[in-house]
C-alpha cells in the first residue's frame, strides 16, 4: 500500500471501532475464549456434583452406568469426533477460499450434529420405557434384580439418573444451539460471505463446536464407562 494516509481499503465486515482486520479477529478470538471459560465454569459445577455423588453412592452409579447403551454411546462419540473433523476442515476451507468445499463441510457438520441428537433421543426414549427417568414413575427394580451382588438404594439411583439427564440434557441443549449456529453459517456460506479475508464467524462457531465435543469426551467415560468390568 503506497498511500498510507488514505482510508485503508477493507471489506464491509471491518467495524469502525477496530483499526485493522487482524485486531478485530484477535478481539473476537479473545471474547470467544472468555465465553468458553464461563462455559467451563457452567459445566464444572455439574461435574463436581457428579464426582461428589459418585464418591458417596458408587454402587448405584455403577449399576446406572451399566444400564446405558454403550454401543450407542460409543457411536455418538465417533459421530461427534467426525463432526469436529468436518468443522476443522471447514475453517481450513474458508481460510483457503474454497467456498464450495466450505458449504459441503458445514452441511456434513449439521448432519453429524443432528445424528448425534437423534441417537441421544433414542437413548432417552429407552430410559423412559425402563422407568429410569427420575420422578413419580421411577423404578430401579430391574437394576436391583440384575445386580444382586451390590446394594442399590432406589433414592440414590435416582441421583445418578438425575445427573445423567441434567448433564446429557445440558450438553444436548448446547448441541441444539450449535446446530442453529451452523445453519446460520451455512446460509451465509452459500451466499459466499466467507473467504480468506473474512472467516471469523466460521472460526468462532468452530471453537464453540469443538468445546461441546470436548465436554462429551469427558461425559462419555464418566457416564457410560464407570464400572463395566465383570462383577466379582
Amino acid at each position: 500500500m503506497a498511500d498510507s494516509t488514505a482510508t485503508p481499503v477493507h471489506g464491509p465486515e471491518l467495524l469502525h471501532h477496530f483499526s485493522t482486520a487482524q485486531q478485530q479477529r484477535d478481539a473476537a478470538s479473545l471474547g470467544m475464549w472468555l465465553f468458553l471459560g464461563t462455559e467451563i465454569m457452567f459445566f464444572g459445577g455439574m461435574f463436581l456434583a457428579y464426582l461428589i455423588y459418585r464418591l458417596l453412592y458408587f454402587n448405584e452409579f455403577a449399576a446406572g452406568s451399566r444400564s446405558l447403551d454403550i454401543w450407542l454411546g460409543t457411536i455418538n462419540t465417533i459421530v461427534l469426533i467426525c463432526s469436529s473433523l468436518t468443522v476443522a476442515l471447514g475453517v481450513r476451507a474458508a481460510q483457503m477460499g474454497k467456498r464450495k468445499l466450505l458449504v459441503i463441510l458445514l452441511l456434513l457438520t449439521l448432519i453429524f450434529g443432528l445424528a448425534f441428537l437423534g441417537i441421544k433421543g433414542v437413548e432417552w426414549y429407552a430410559k423412559y420405557k425402563e422407568h429410569h427417568i427420575p420422578g413419580m414413575s421411577f423404578d430401579a427394580g430391574d437394576l436391583i434384580r440384575d445386580y444382586p451382588q451390590i446394594h442399590i438404594d432406589p433414592a440414590h439411583e435416582q441421583i445418578y439418573f438425575s445427573l445423567y439427564f441434567a448433564m446429557t440434557g445440558l450438553h444436548a441443549l448446547h448441541m441444539i444451539i450449535g446446530v442453529g449456529m451452523f445453519t446460520y453459517l451455512l446460509y451465509h456460506s452459500m451466499k459466499g460471505r466467507y473467504g480468506p479475508e473474512y472467516y471469523t464467524p466460521i472460526e468462532m462457531g468452530g471453537l464453540y463446536w469443538h468445546f461441546v465435543d470436548v465436554v462429551w469426551i469427558y461425559l462419555f467415560p464418566l457416564l457410560y464407562l464407570i464400572d463395566r468390568k465383570p462383577l466379582g
Binding site: 465454569m41 460409543t74 469443538h210 469426551i217 467415560p221
Partner: protein, 97 residues
C-alpha cells in the same frame, strides 16, 4: 493476512487418533484394572481433549498469549473447584462398602 493454514493431512491424523482412543477407552472399560479403570478412562479422555484443543482449536499454532492465559486460568479454576471440594467430601465420610 498471514494466518498460516495447517495441512489437511494433520487434521485427518488427529481424527484417526481420536477414533482409536475412543475405541480403546470403550474396550478397556471391560477389563478389570481395579481402581485404575477410572484413571485410565480419565487419562484417555484428557488426551483426546488435548488433541481437540491444541490442534482442532488451533491453540498450539495460532493463538495469542492472552488467549492462552484465559485457557490456563479457566482450567486452573476448574481444578481448584474439583480438587478442593473433593479434598473435603473425600475425607468427610467413612468409606461405603
Amino acid at each position: 493476512m498471514s494466518e498460516h493454514v495447517l495441512s489437511s493431512k494433520m487434521y485427518y491424523g488427529i481424527w484417526i487418533a481420536l477414533m482409536i482412543l475412543t475405541v480403546v477407552t470403550a474396550r478397556v472399560a471391560f477389563i478389570d484394572l481395579g481402581p485404575f479403570n477410572t484413571v485410565v478412562a480419565l487419562v484417555i479422555a484428557t488426551g483426546k481433549a488435548l488433541l481437540v484443543v491444541l490442534f482442532f482449536m488451533h491453540v498450539k499454532y495460532a493463538s495469542e498469549k492472552l488467549v492462552k492465559m484465559v485457557i490456563v486460568a479457566s482450567i486452573f479454576w476448574l481444578l481448584l473447584l474439583l480438587l478442593l471440594s473433593l479434598a473435603d467430601y473425600g475425607t468427610r465420610y467413612a468409606r461405603h462398602g
